[in-house]
Amino acid sequence: MISFGLTEEQEVVREAMREFAVDIFREAARDADEESALPADVLNTVWELGLTSTQLPESVGGGGEARSPITNAIILEELAFGDPAMAIAATAPSLFAFAINDFGTDDQKQAHLPRFCGDKFAAATVAVAEPSPVFDVANLQTTAQAKGDGFVLSGRKHFVVLGDRAEQFLVLARTEQATGTGLDAIDAFIVPRDAAGLTISEVEKNLGMKALPTVALTLEQVELPAEARLGGSDGIDGARLIAQMRTASAALRVGVSRAVKEYAIPYAKDRHAFGEAIAQKQAIAFTLSDMEIEVNSMRWLTWKAAAALESLEDATQPALFASTYTARECMKIADNGLQVLGGHGFIREHPVELWYRAARTLTVLDAVAAV
């Protein structure tokens, strides 16, 4: 049955997240960007929402609620509506923990998940992107060679979220054992921060989302035991993991796009030129109506991908559609939003400038969050 209706619980969560994101994230966003640093305590504050722990099983100390990619997509949209950098930082532990929970062996779950059910923000992350032009996740250059029972990892990663503080990295790589091609050939390895051969860079300097600390990793012959391979001898469902991340990225882009739209509308009504509000000019009004159309389109594509994940179908295609579509439209909306503000859009007083930079960063990344 086709339905666009939220459950009552989802309505409540959406409302709560929206308020939180505006009150906590949006308020702090400009200073955090200027200082290239997350506000003190924001991660612990957000931790109290239980975004990660409530959807982990009771057996590891979690809330035991069913994982809902749809609910998570709704949450990510709202958080990114507040600020995408903080939204990503806040949900990075989920990126790691959900992957362990979805694809890990029982031993791996017991070993790694309890940490995410405690009182304090637990930093961990996934390393996907590689510092080469035209990066394609279906063609990873980071490799895992079998050696004895274990593996040797070699390669480079960048834009690793919260890599400055993560205790573990889940590193995506191609193994010789991998069956199939493309996304099916992806394997994941749990690499501790202190692994020999792992070099962690200083915090990277990025165009947008400057408050979000990311690092580059260099893996030189990093030797890992057999149990470091997520899912043990079965490995992981790479296509599903990537679909989760693409859907999450799409949700974040919906949030940023909506932020731009909702800022541009009252601005265009207030701002006068040539004797009337600029919103009364068709060129501006139609730019705004196009934003409205596309925020809708983007959201439905995102929800469709999330729904496919939720019903455990193959979500590769809907997630890819959601990701590529939202990437293009989010950039366009941010760009047009800036244009609606004109000279004021270029000044770092209004948040649109920040969202413009965030959009261009966010829309080339599919590996910063998960549903």
Partner: protein, 393 residues
């Protein structure tokens, strides 16, 4: 709960509609090339296929809502062909949508079985319905309305059994004075003329109507409310409400054809050895695959806006904004998609040996009739800006 899965019932019905649609598709080229002829009431094959709508009985809460499944069926039918159907579309004309939205119980019973076209546009008024010049004057002695005026671009205007047409009771009252009337073919003074020669949808006739002292019964005023509401009281909105279903439906017409175009293009590209499989990031693709997948995503986005507008209607929620979003999005998407499919296939895509070039022509009307894309954008912008017509036009 958010859900995009179809029930087995829904799937079965849509599979069936597509089977029918493929039969109809065989006639598509003929009625495109032979513009003077209309497709028959029912195709020869109709006897072999029970009507799809008969399967609508026995639906459960597991199945999609009436409006949603209606949109899906519309897309599936048009995936076969826009103009040629297994049977003449009883009850699916744009006028029927108006009847369903605004008609009285009696009117729905009496007129529901007829194919009704919808006549709004006039030679002078373009896309601005409030400029309607056709007049309706009540003759109290005979209890008849007397209609005078001309309507153009009446879709399915020749083969329809009747029409929902707009006329003004009082030009000085502006939009508030406009009412809809049910007029049956054969009414005295109702002349159907001039089948237009068009870029596309050539089997689907586009008529000009002339009303000259055309008399119809008093009870043919759609909805039955004869008084002219005060300006600004929203009386015109009742008339406009019709569009809340016809706009998504119009988009669905086009999206059925653009989907057919994508399917044809995929077949050809894969036949030529192009890898269209999903998974790689765009940089891992050939130029053709990247382009094709972006068109597919656009199709999906536009379809979802249509289903969203229909879903709201099923829920009894207002969907004026969402209806316009789906129409604007659909109208623009089908232009991009069909143009892109021909671009992908090159000269062969522009050959009349294949139906792709026909769909490219047919869909172009989507962004024009039932309110152009520009009109939809005005409606959307006014809604989100909370502007009235005087503030944004």
């Amino acid at each position: 709960m958010i859900d995009f899965n179809l029930s087995d019932n829904d799937k079965k019905m849509l599979d069936y509609v597509r089977t029918e649609a493929l039969v109809a598709r065989k006639y598509a080229r003929y009625y495109d090339e032979n513009e003077a002829e209309f497709p028959p009431e029912a195709l020869d094959e109709a006897d072999d296929y029970p009507g799809a709508w008969s399967m609508m009985a026995g639906r459960t809460s597991e199945d999609s809502g009436q409006s949603v499944i209606g949109m899906l069926i519309t897309m599936a039918e048009n995936w076969g062909d826009y103009s040629v159907r297994m049977r003449k579309g009883r009850g699916v004309g744009l006028g029927n949508a108006a009847l369903g939205a605004s008609g009285t119980e009696e009117q729905r019973t009496k007129w529901g079985g007829l194919l009704l076209s919808m006549a709004i546009t006039e030679p002078g008024c373009g896309s601005d319905p409030s400029l309607v010049q056709t007049t309706a004057v009540l003759d109290e002695e005979t209890n008849e309305w007397v209609l005078n005026g001309e309507k153009i671009f009446v879709t399915t205007g020749c083969r329809s059994d009747g029409v929902v047409m707009w006329a003004t009771l009082d030009r000085s009252a502006g939009r508030a004075g406009i009412k809809s009337f049910l007029v049956e073919k054969g009414a005295p003074g109702f002349q159907v003329s001039h089948k237009e020669k068009k870029l596309g949808i050539r089997a689907d006739d586009t008529a000009t109507y002339v009303f000259t002292d055309c008399r119809i019964p008093r009870e043919n005023l759609l909805g039955g409310k004869e008084e002219i509401p005060k300006a600004g009281s929203g009386g015109f909105r009742g008339v406009m409400k019709t569009f809340n279903m016809t706009r998504p439906m119009t988009a669905a017409f086009g999206l059925g054809m653009s989907k057919a175009s994508l399917d044809f293009t995929r077949e050809q590209l894969e036949g030529a050895g192009i890898d269209l499989s999903y998974g790689a990031d765009v940089h891992g693709l050939s130029a053709a695959a990247a382009k094709f997948q972006s068109l597919e995503a656009l199709q999906e986005a536009a379809e979802l806006t249509v289903l969203h507008a229909a879903y709201l209607s099923d829920q009894g929620e207002p969907n004026n904004l969402e209806a316009s979003i789906s129409k604007a999005k659909g109208g623009s998407a089908v232009r991009t998609i069909t143009q892109g499919c021909i671009e992908l296939l090159g000269p062969m895509g522009a050959s009349r040996e294949h139906l792709l070039e026909k769909w490219f022509r047919d869909v172009r009307i989507t962004d024009i009739y039932e309110g152009t894309g520009q009109i939809q954008n005005l409606i959307i912008a006014r809604t989100i800006l909370e502007y009235d017509r005087s503030q944004l036009s």
